[in-house]
Symmetry: C2
Subunit: 429 residues, 2 copies
């Protein structure tokens, strides 16, 4: 006899395990519309509060994969390896990373989404480049991987449709914050896209989804375990997200900073993380005799960027959009920049127009925040700490309000202010 | 700033208390359709798993009352007192109880519902009487209370609409089994109907919603606390529901048994419970100098029944419907009837046509089970233990299957088989 939705909900509600049959049935039924939104919401809350064990999470992930198709990329002549970040403020790493890893000899099939809330989306960033288009066919993806070695494009609606539907539901029902559900959501899409190796960048801190290292470690371990169970070589780095990554937060601003990195410059933290993730990806691809630091320094990654952008209709030489209003936020006193909170900066950039409140919203290509001072630097009263960029000046008071508590200039005598270490830990199978 | 649904869900999900403002907002929003079914389902699951304290339950109940109107019955010249049962198999007690308590001098405004699942509904039972109608206006209710002293009629859709909507949602989302939600559902309707006193019959055992005495005691205490907090004099009896109440299970069958009781006969357990609940109700009504045993013996309750039925268009003298098929279930061996499980009998009666699987279903007036032997009685192989009544003979195998494990004839040497005590405990403020 087929399970009923109430039986499945009750099993998890009462602290039991879901059987393979129950998991398969409830996710297939939800995708088909036979299990109602309210039933899945109750189940998601029961999962959030009562958990799932490793075998349940593996099966849940498989059932989400099975709800759609699995990309079958042809042999592109290079090992396939991908990266996924759990999302942070100023996290543009995919942009320099994909061309760099391609320049080192691997192929990077990065199927991405758009941003929602205070973290930006990779596609939103690239769409600030005139002409660039996110939607590619499977043939175009394969051809570009063989030719350029790197593709950053929109994920297709045929991959893990159960996840898309479930994520939208979780977003409005207070059931996002479940490690089994987060892990299976990410991994189902990444496994369905058919990559050969996967490096996870699990962010930790105020601007990240995981606020503490133990939670981030648990999420990373769950995802590495899922990948391993599905035969996908997976490793994870745990990286700091208590301050923004780099100095640019916003779509075109982050593209510009990524180009700086590809040309051998850019902020030290962006370079450090790009290189660290590249090393992990190359290790999974079996390309251990190439050093990404040398490749970056050689300038070989920048032409890959140009070809990657051009292959999707973008003009890498075109000027990026500039905001109509750029206003500074200045220090009120002399002192040391003691805090530059990632969440505060993320919300400010979002309010300036860089992000979306709802899926239907559009984003401003040029909006965002440009940081001018690093944590730990001396500043004088009146000195600009950062710039607010926007086309909609009515957004400025809200952005300033978001920054109020997150930007702290302290008396130099109040102790050392330093940026926390960027690389916190790694999780490998 | 108004709360958002996700904030309210998150507060309970994370083990916190809901504020008065959050409770008022979420229930008003749900009634109006601004809070979605999936959001209320997630909240209901969080409440089920994380609980609500006494103050939250009191406010939740008040917000459900406030979602609709409160009946304001005029002075009918007698104290108003009502009874509510949490539902059991063969539980027809309202039928003899309301006329008996009216004959003792109180007025009983019993607003009832229809049955769903294995427990029957009071309205379904009375509708087996030719001509009887459940729907009354407020004026008709008041007039009948003043004249006859007892009304059993359909509840109006204007009382606690939030509860009606929430109950339908809980039914399909595995969130029925929450003591705060059960208690507030029952009490919101009873408080909104404007009674002056309330006696709760909380059933315990296989055929009841609460399977164990501690759970039943907790539910009773929660409801008595809510009633007291709302100024409604409330007491509760905890009564056994491991075997069916009386010997008749089914709509017309239970009406016939109720009439036997009102005429001074009927099964001992039905009489015992009717009298015990009448005493509780009379105590709340301040009518302590009248003995319901004497009133029942005097025959004074039966004419009240006749007038109560006639006032709603029913013919108390008309023959009740008879099932087209009546077949016995016989003992397979000599022995003692050791078990007659309430749930098994309830499901059998339901399958025979006495109950509904879905709200839209109709019920058969004559379908049900008539028990012929009490637990503890000696039986011989081939002796009928009970009769199955139905108009749809194709239902017979399903009814027999439901009874298979619930009807046990044991070797007389295997120890005493006795009906458990009926009255288990009482909860008073």
């Amino acid at each position: 006899m087929a399970p009923s939705a109430v039986e499945v909900i009750n099993a998890k509600r009462d602290g039991g395990r879901l059987t393979d049959e129950q998991i398969d049935w409830v996710l297939a039924g939800y995708t088909a519309g036979d299990v109602a939104d309210e039933q899945m919401a109750a189940l998601a809350m029961a999962i959030l509060l009562n958990g799932m064990d490793a075998a349940e999470v593996a099966r849940w992930t498989q059932a989400m994969i099975d709800s759609g198709e699995v990309l079958s990329l042809p042999d592109v002549g290079r090992p396939l390896v991908d990266k996924h970040s759990t999302g942070g403020v100023g996290d543009k790493i995919t942009l320099p990373l994909a061309p760099l890893v391609a320049a080192c000899g691997a192929a990077v099939p990065q199927l991405s989404g758009r941003g929602l809330g205070h973290t930006g989306g990779t596609l939103d960033k690239l769409e600030s480049i005139p002409g660039w288009r996110a939607a590619l066919s499977l043939d175009e993806i394969a051809a570009q991987l063989a030719d350029v070695g790197a593709v950053i494009c929109a994920t297709t609606p045929t991959l893990a449709p159960a996840d898309r539907k479930l994520y939208a539901l979780r977003d409005v029902t207070g059931t996002v914050e479940s490690i089994p559900l987060i892990a299976s959501s990410i991994m189902s899409k990444k496994i369905a896209e058919g990559t050969g190796g996967l490096v996870l960048d699990v962010k930790v801190g105020s601007g990240a989804f995981m606020k503490t290292l133990p939670h981030a470690r648990e999420l990373a371990a769950t995802m590495v375990e899922i990948g391993t169970a599905h035969g996908l070589a997976t490793t994870a780095l745990l990286t700091d997200m208590s301050v923004p990554l780099g100095r640019a937060v916003g779509n075109a601003l982050e593209v510009a900073e990524s180009v700086e990195v590809l040309r051998g410059g850019g902020p030290a933290d962006v370079v450090e993380l790009t290189v660290a993730l590249a090393r992990e990806m190359l290790a999974l691809a079996g390309l251990t005799d190439v050093d990404p630091v040398e490749v970056l320094a050689s300038g070989a990654a920048y032409p890959v960027w140009e070809r990657m952008i051009a292959a999707q209709g973008g003009d890498p030489a075109a000027p990026l959009p500039m905001a109509r209003h750029v206003v500074p936020v200045v220090a009120q006193t002399d002192g040391v920049l003691a805090q530059c909170d990632a969440m505060a900066v993320g919300i400010a950039a979002w309010r300036l127009g860089a992000g979306r409140a709802r899926k239907e919203d559009t984003v401003q290509a040029a909006a965002g925040v440009r940081l001018l001072v690093d944590v730990g630097e001396q500043v004088s009263a009146g000195q600009p700490l950062l710039e607010l960029h926007t086309d909609t000046p009515q957004a400025l008071p809200g952005a300033r309000a978001a920054l109020a508590a997150g930007l702290v200039v302290a008396d130099p005598g109040s102790g050392p202010a330093v940026r926390p270490p960027l690389l916190l830990d790694a999780v490998r199978p």
